[in-house]
């Protein structure tokens, strides 16, 4: 790891100024659970770290207005246990409590988690790894697509990259139409989460719609009664503390007769970005929930899935995971 400087910023403005003053190689660090990990692998090589984990007021959680607001510096563990989130938006709480371990949830922030980088083993092969990776070194090639692709994406794959977007929380936020608040040298702006994650295309090294020097300052989620009938189902190689083989975030706004007024569906662990499943939503809207309808909707969501040599099982696994999640969310409507 290269020598680097470290400063702790007290406010967002301080941090933005420190970033500009530091020049080349400046990076913000919050919990550091992704950045420091990748620094140890030589994949991230910052020269200057600006610590934004203790910015004043950045850990605010506010469920009082017509939106839920999560300060970017709030810890994953704290949002996962917030009483309003647990009661009214279980999909959000579960996406956090099923991610990582309690040690990491006590370190990682809900803002930093949005920027978690892929766990593709070819990407994590090291700065001078044996295998090429277009994310690590743009234009170097992708060894995963024709390689050991058991964990690679089945949605959003390009000829240049099939790396899975690893997060759980971003999948739940995608289902719930979250908005991300950013602040940078040019001021503040809001980005809908649907525009925040970039498909790999020909430029897989570009992953997030955030500019140099910008900081994620908060996340807001519009309040909806779909939150109560919601769940995050995550299927892994082991029962806990693993990344998703397939996951589904489902929230169902229901009318008084047990019909779905508006379905919110997103998939995780299967795509190169958090994956909204509009096809499934359209088949659920206006309908009552039963097993056959849940399976139909889930199959529709996977209509465009493309498997490689070793990951085809995750399409059927994904279908059943989503169908189960739809059933689980539907059963919450009492």
């Amino acid at each position: 790891m290269r020598s680097l400087s470290y400063v702790r910023a007290r406010s967002v403005n301080d941090a933005i100024e420190a970033f500009a003053a530091a020049g080349d190689g400046a990076r913000y660090i919050a919990g550091g659970t992704t950045l420091y990990d990748l620094m140890k692998l030589g994949i991230e090589q910052p020269r200057h770290l600006i610590d934004i984990s203790t910015l004043e007021g950045a850990d605010r959680i506010d469920s009082g207005g017509d939106h839920l607001f999560f300060g970017a510096g709030a810890l994953m563990a704290d949002v996962a246990e917030d009483t309003v989130v647990l009661r009214d938006y279980p999909v959000l709480a579960e996406s956090l409590s099923k991610a990582a371990s309690q040690q990491l949830r006590n370190m990682a922030t809900v803002g930093g988690n949005l920027l978690q980088r892929t766990r593709c083993p070819y990407f994590r092969n090291g700065a001078h790894g044996l295998y090429p990776c277009n994310k690590r070194v743009s234009g170097s090639g992708c060894a995963a697509i024709a390689g050991l692709d058991r964990g690679q994406a089945v949605f959003g794959v390009s000829d240049a990259c099939s790396a899975v977007s690893p997060g759980d929380w971003p999948v739940a936020l995608t289902a719930m139409d979250a908005t991300i608040e950013l602040q940078g040298p040019a001021g503040k702006r809001l980005v809908p989460i649907s525009k925040f994650y970039l498909l790999p295309g020909e430029t897989p090294h570009l992953e997030f719609g955030i500019d140099p020097g910008e900081i994620v300052t908060g996340i807001s989620v519009p309040k909806t009664d779909a939150g109560r009938n919601s769940t995050y189902l995550k299927v892994r190689d082991r029962e806990s503390y693993a990344f998703a083989l397939a996951s589904a975030a489902v929230a169902l706004a229901m009318d008084g007769e047990g019909r779905v007024r508006q379905a919110h569906v997103a998939l995780g662990g299967l795509a190169t970005r958090p994956w909204r499943a509009h096809e499934a939503e359209l088949l659920l809207n206006g309908q009552t929930i039963d097993r056959a309808r849940a399976l139909d909707a889930a199959r529709a969501a996977f209509g465009g899935a493309q498997a490689g040599e070793h990951n085809a099982f995750r399409i059927e696994l994904g279908v059943r995971t989503l169908a189960d999640a739809i059933m689980n969310a539907g059963r919450k409507n009492r």
Partner: protein, 218 residues
């Protein structure tokens, strides 16, 4: 250079002085050629964290000064801005209870508490503990003896090789204090960040079930 910071870590033996001497000797061997000298060795009392006596800085990069409390003792030192909390504890402070397993936050062997919350010290940049309170396995025993969780691990033989044990115990204490130890299923879920290569999980869950009511009372 005194090595009064050496501690018995995790495993209790019948004669605490013998334990200390053994661990010091082992450490001495591991650090042969290093800067630890036996002549400065003092045998610590069995169950109290010792005053901190940081080793001189071997840093060759940009450093930051941090002021912190480690196991209740004030600490001020210059540390390389790249260094992990785990490396600071082990290599600068001689607190070798927290173990380096994977060094990537995946195994839990390095678990310590910062301001009472469990974290992976290998993924915590040392500079981040400036102004904060760190507790390691060396700091959990009371004046009257072992922490109830340490005793419970002994009672249930909740280890084999013992390498993961300091991390398991630190995670387990936090697990109880968080209120995540009410059922065996909940204990398993909230202890999943600590891997035991020897597979002592049955004993670990039993130990936590035993210690939980004692810790909740205290």
């Amino acid at each position: 250079m005194a090595v009064s910071i050496l501690q018995p870590s995790g495993v209790h033996m019948s004669d605490p002085q013998e334990t200390s001497a053994l661990s010091a000797t082992r450490r001495q061997v591991l650090k042969a050629g290093g800067f630890v000298s036996v002549s400065g060795l003092t045998l610590p009392s069995p169950a109290r964290a010792q005053p901190l006596n940081p080793l001189p800085s071997p840093e060759n990069g940009i450093t930051v000064r941090i002021t912190s409390r480690i196991n209740g003792h004030p600490l001020s030192l210059e540390i390389d801005a790249r260094a992990s909390l785990l490396d600071m504890l082990r290599e600068r402070l001689g607190l070798v209870g927290a173990k380096k397993g994977c060094d990537h936050g995946q195994c839990g062997a390095c678990t310590v508490h910062i301001d009472g919350r469990r974290v992976a010290s290998c993924l915590t940049i040392a500079a981040k503990v400036d102004g904060r309170e760190v507790t390691t396995i060396e700091g959990v025993a009371g004046p009257d003896g072992l922490h109830p969780m340490q005793q419970a691990f002994i009672d249930h033989d909740a280890l084999q090789c013992g390498y993961c044990t300091p991390g398991q115990i630190m995670a387990a204490i936090a697990c109880v204090k968080e209120g995540h130890a009410s059922t065996p299923e909940q204990i398993k879920e909230y202890m999943s960040g600590n891997i035991c290569r020897c597979g002592a999980y049955v004993g670990i869950v039993a130990a936590i079930e035993q210690a939980a009511p004692q810790i909740e009372r205290s």
